[in-house]
Symmetry: D2
């Protein structure tokens, strides 16, 4: 199926007054119009009984455009996330599965935990499995799965990694939907990055083509925070906190040495959010190099000139570089070594070693021996458990996904838009071009 | 001057299409119409030269209402924060002062640092003083102040507390404005809570009455996060992170003891945000008691019944209680001991000891010896430095205040509204009633 | 049985050249002379095969007196801990039990883990139970126990508290030894403080009276580090690390306030080691009050005079007070409220609140409003997991106990004496008077 | 001057009863016999007045041999560290200097701080300078130094690194002693590793040859803990704590991936103490490779066989490797790239990348794609401040050095021997062969 076709099916545009546009998500009734509805079991839950107006109004939408002019257009809106008065699954009918794909990210286990606890305590669901053999999409081809209960997941949010395991690639739509159908699964929760969400979109298409009553919900995962439509991705806050530790170490080393230069390489293949936020948070960085902002080494206004200036002024400096920065500057010989990893991401050269080597060679003439420290805390950042802020965020994210699937929505990812959790159609979350610039940080 | 008058002067309402309302902030030209403007020096700053569209459009406003309906009213908007093309102060004309009031809060030093660095590096301002003798408003009456430079504040964000010192109360408007006038101060940055912001509003009124070219900018501080108009207050994220540590300790103690009950008292006089978020983040809490949600002890549906149930099921439990919860339940004899502290906040009884005592007496009949642990990490939470997330937030907050004052706005506080930093008139930030309920957390 | 008799049986004194004295521990062959021995299974363990001289020489002893003179007496020695060539239990004959008593202490779970793993991996033992119903000695009267395997204990060292639960008091020697006999237990590992070790001594006496082949091994636990014969107790290092956090918070609060005084109450009923070490480690403390060093409040050389001096010089100060300091100064009315807790420890008045109240009243005349912060991090300190240093220490401690019991020693506790792990007879570890003074810290 | 001569001058051996040997340190009166003595000013210090027996008996010695036999030899002893009744410097006569050399190590700033505070508060010394231009021995050739006062060093123990800066190599004995003589320095405190202590020994020889009243005191620094004569080196405890974090991250990554292998490279050129202790402390490591224990890759009993076994059993594993492990196995081609760094240490190949590459190639045949994580937390470990335990240790170390120099001792290093701080002649601390084996850890 062509991308165009995918987009066509996915997109449900509605317009309103003042330039109001709703980019809506699919619903099971789009292709199964006669589905029954049931009252939401939450209304009988004593824990929620004190809460007034608990259910989201079906017409609630969330505005993407928040900086507006007096008489301007209202722009794009998304459907608000949250529990609905009516649900499209009976509690004992639900058979949910959860799968985690791609690299590790702080908070993964919290998302898993809260999908399980949300389904169990809010909706009385007891059939939940985890796709855990080898992890990732490949796990669907295996016979083995793990049964997930509140007891099983009780403490997992205090641990890093993912209890389901994870892998890259291995996506065969047909086999996966066969596996879903064979097992009788009717809610699929897919936690993963860009590639994974594309995979989930194709699974949704195939599910729809076969006319199955199966909700496919995506939970977007990218430690790099490079999904423009949502406010931030889970794990990002924890990653920035941890990244600061490496910056601080590089700062101490540089400061203790004559002409010391500390170089810290941080995650960020196509965006420099972790690098920029860690720089803003630590305040010990002299120079932050990110993919969004090209730079050059030699000549006036170049990096070497800036380094010489800072060393003369200050005697030491700290440089933070995102892994995808300066890719165009790497020599052809290095580029020829480039490879593809299993998920298809371009295998980037190690930019930390490259830039350190270049600086060392260059500054030697001016400063003699320059001590260069290269720290790469990537694995230590990925593997820690979510901090308090990410744990709360992952909880809301997981509950949003559960409320959405129970309410019959499908083919959606979820996440906060201007602070309000929303349902976003797959094609929007994937297609939105990355318009990331430092001003987005500075001005937000 | 009566409150009504204050509100009248403060409020600048503008209306637009579709129910658009702008609650604007005062500007120096409101009462000094012939002020000169200057080009913003940022436009010559090489560090910002790469950034396109750096300046905020003068008509940009930020919508408070983000959950909307297709054809609904657009509601209240605030002026967007950020640098303007034109400023109303020349760099060498600015004489700024900074004062911190009230209790400690993680991030205070970061706000101070970034006001200083923002004024210095963005606007070339060199005359900045800190009101530090005794701290707080009382510091204005003293001859001593401290000169603040980027070098002086370089590392302060890594320390807890406030380098300026702080105190409560002591507000004499006339003397303070005399002091401002005598020293030639023309930008006043006031960091503090509700009472402090009220004080700043009155200072602004008096400044205006005297016709002084003095911008008064407030930076709202409340570790409790109880300012409804802004997304969150600085220090809150750090406080929740730290509060989790106490919850975890109480959980470990309770779990290691037969019928162990851990009680953790957390901050929150009128709102339970820290308690609720720490509960959501830790996932080890059985019961969270907050001021917004009344409870009772005895009988069906009471706390004691719930405790008996949990101890029988689980053998131990953890209760989190915000300091302002259950105030109505304290006995009259205890209430008669109530006092006022210097800032006029009601001196609350120690609810942690009270509830522990009541539970101990009550549960003895059922469970014999029940071990009760009462932890109160309040001082350990207040005194730590801001975490990465709060440091970034404090930086944006401080820079917003600086951009606002330079652009001639006055009588405003600042903070993020739906993720976008905005200028909010004093009367709105003070008057907005506290409509805090757990659903605000659950549904956001 | 009288205390005197206990001591008489327990003590095995041997003398040697130059004033050498060995205070030896009992051995099963003292009363079961015909026991068979077996080769230590460690000699066939490939993991240990590379290690030369692995087994401890049976004649190795550890000198308690380490500061000596050229021609002085050699003094007291203890039997060196470690694996012996011959053991007195076959692997499949061992039936071990573990019990934890008294308050929580960082590292408890590591000790449990390493007794289990030591018995399993070093000696091939598979029958190990935990006395966990209610925890403590009372657990022996219950039918329920928990089976402990390396898998069960695999991750417990990363958690605070004790997985076996704990309680105070409840010691009935006869019932406990009946329970040991009925279950066929032949190795008893008792982890607990002073009172617990006394209980273990009496259990050993009764076991010996009944002529049972049961080794009773004590692992001394006191977060206060107040066992003079061993270098330090487990958990102490972690406790000091954590205590520093509270001191730092009090310092920040005091420093941010005019005439601020931070008071931190730390553990230490009869000794001030935690208070002293945390003071030495943090370097932010002006005054550290400990039980070993009497003080007075009023007059020349008194505490109030010192406080006034420091406030005048510095404007703020931090006081650390151990919970047992200044007990003689508490008023009679307060003492009349004294009670006994279940283990018989004197219930001390809260010295933190008392001293704060006294200081506040006293200093008011000189300084007007003095802000006083009282932090008591006791429960947060007790409940954290052991740090790296304590984990290594707990491992060696547990392995020492296991080697000792397998080698047929009984009625002993273990711990490092001048850096070397040793077996110490119960009576020595209990009876040694507490000759603790600051000079022990300063001069060691 | 030949090494032999150096040893001859340095060594002062005294013998006593029962095989007692004292390896004494030099004293200024060895070559300046008519020096005057003064009463120790500590005896008038009110802070110490409560302490009885504060001064160390001049005949106190510390036994190195602590595991002894009934009638065995008493072995080597060292002079006990601590304050003496008589000192050989008047307070206002002292002119001290401090220099730090070699790599960073947690606690460096605490040692600097406590030498300064010890000299100032205990002995009333006010002339203390830091050799800080470029740091290290090279700093002696510069005109610039920094004046060190208690105020200057007040907070430095909370920061990592060294405020004096550091460098390697650059030792010219004659120029250094000229510099000492020209400035009138009479106490030299040298903080550094093996090479640095050798340098200090030669400085002492030259000082003695010139007949100067200059005490030369060494404070041994090696994060690797590879000085056999002292119990542990400062910073080691902190390093192990931090190393555990990297191990934990590698464990999480490995566990989350099918056939995941986490490799953590830790410091340790010639000894594996950090690797071994971190392994013991974390309990998440399957295999720890250290320089002291040779291994091979292929065949029966080789590393590859063990890896295959663990992956089959467990599905993932963690390997810790000290930087100096397996050096003999690196290919000749890699060895040919070996270089010398400025201090003359052999530049080791990166053993982490080498072993990962070899494992990846080897295990591919059995397991297909094996995910390999290589973490190297070296710079993050070196740069953190000392933990509580290291801070207390550094304080005692610095005070020992100060007491020793004031008492006229020279040509010594200091450190704890079996828990008691002692003065050790340079030649002993340097010459003692490294007899490090895992049994030293296991059995201690």
């Amino acid at each position: 199926m062509a991308d165009g076709g995918c987009a066509a099916i996915n997109t449900k545009i509605e317009e309103g007054e003042g330039g109001y546009i709703l980019e809506d998500v699919p619903h099971l009734t789009d292709y199964l119009p006669s589905l029954l509805t049931y009252p939401n079991p939450l209304q009988d839950n004593p824990a929620y009984s004190v809460v007034k107006q608990y259910f989201v109004d079906v017409d609630d939408t969330v505005a993407q455009k928040i900086v507006v002019h007096k008489n301007g257009d209202r722009g794009i809106h998304f459907r608000r996330a949250g529990p609905r008065q009516k649900v499209y699954f009976k509690s004992d009918e639900v058979h949910a599965c959860i799968v985690t794909c791609g690299g590790l990210c702080p908070g993964l286990n919290t998302v898993i935990r809260e999908i399980v606890c949300g389904l169990h305590y809010m909706y009385g669901v007891s059939k939940i499995i985890g796709i855990d053999f080898q992890g990732g999409y490949m796990g669907f081809y295996s016979k083995n799965t793990v049964t997930l209960t509140p007891k099983v997941v009780n403490d997992i949010h205090k641990r890093g990694g993912t209890v389901l395991g994870t892998s890259r690639g291995g996506h065969d739509t047909s086999k996966i939907v066969d596996s879903i159908q064979d097992r009788g699964i009717n809610q699929v929760y897919v936690i993963g990055g860009d590639g994974t969400q594309k995979g989930a979109a194709v699974i949704y298409e195939e599910v729809r083509r076969r006319g199955l009553k199966v909700s496919v919900a995506g939970i977007p995962k990218t430690i790099d925070n490079d999904i423009p439509v949502i406010d931030r991705s889970f794990g990002f806050d924890t990653a920035v906190e941890e990244a600061q530790r490496a910056i601080n170490a590089a700062h101490v080393e540089a400061e203790s040495t004559e002409n010391g230069i500390g170089v810290v390489k941080l995650m960020g293949r196509y965006s420099g959010f972790i690098a920029m936020y860690a720089t803003l948070a630590s305040r010990d960085v002299d120079c932050c190099l990110i993919p969004e902002s090209p730079f050059f080494l030699e000549g006036k206004g170049g990096l070497f000139q800036f380094i010489r200036k800072r060393l003369k002024e200050n005697g030491h400096m700290v440089i933070v570089i995102a892994e995808g920065a300066g890719q165009d500057l790497l020599t052809e010989s290095m580029q020829s070594m480039g490879q593809q990893d299993a998920s298809g991401n371009k295998q980037l050269q190690d930019v930390g070693f490259w830039i350190s080597h270049r600086i060392k060679v260059h500054t030697f003439a001016d400063f003699g021996l320059t001590v260069m420290i290269v720290a790469d805390p990537t694995y230590m950042i990925r593997a820690i458990p979510g901090n308090a802020s990410d744990n709360v965020y992952c909880t809301l994210l997981a509950q949003s996904a559960v409320h959405g699937a129970m309410a019959g929505y499908t083919g959606f990812t979820c996440g906060p838009v201007n602070g309000r959790h929303s349902y976003i159609p797959f094609n929007v979350s994937i297609a939105l071009s990355l318009s990331l610039s430092p001003s987005r940080i500075g001005m937000k």
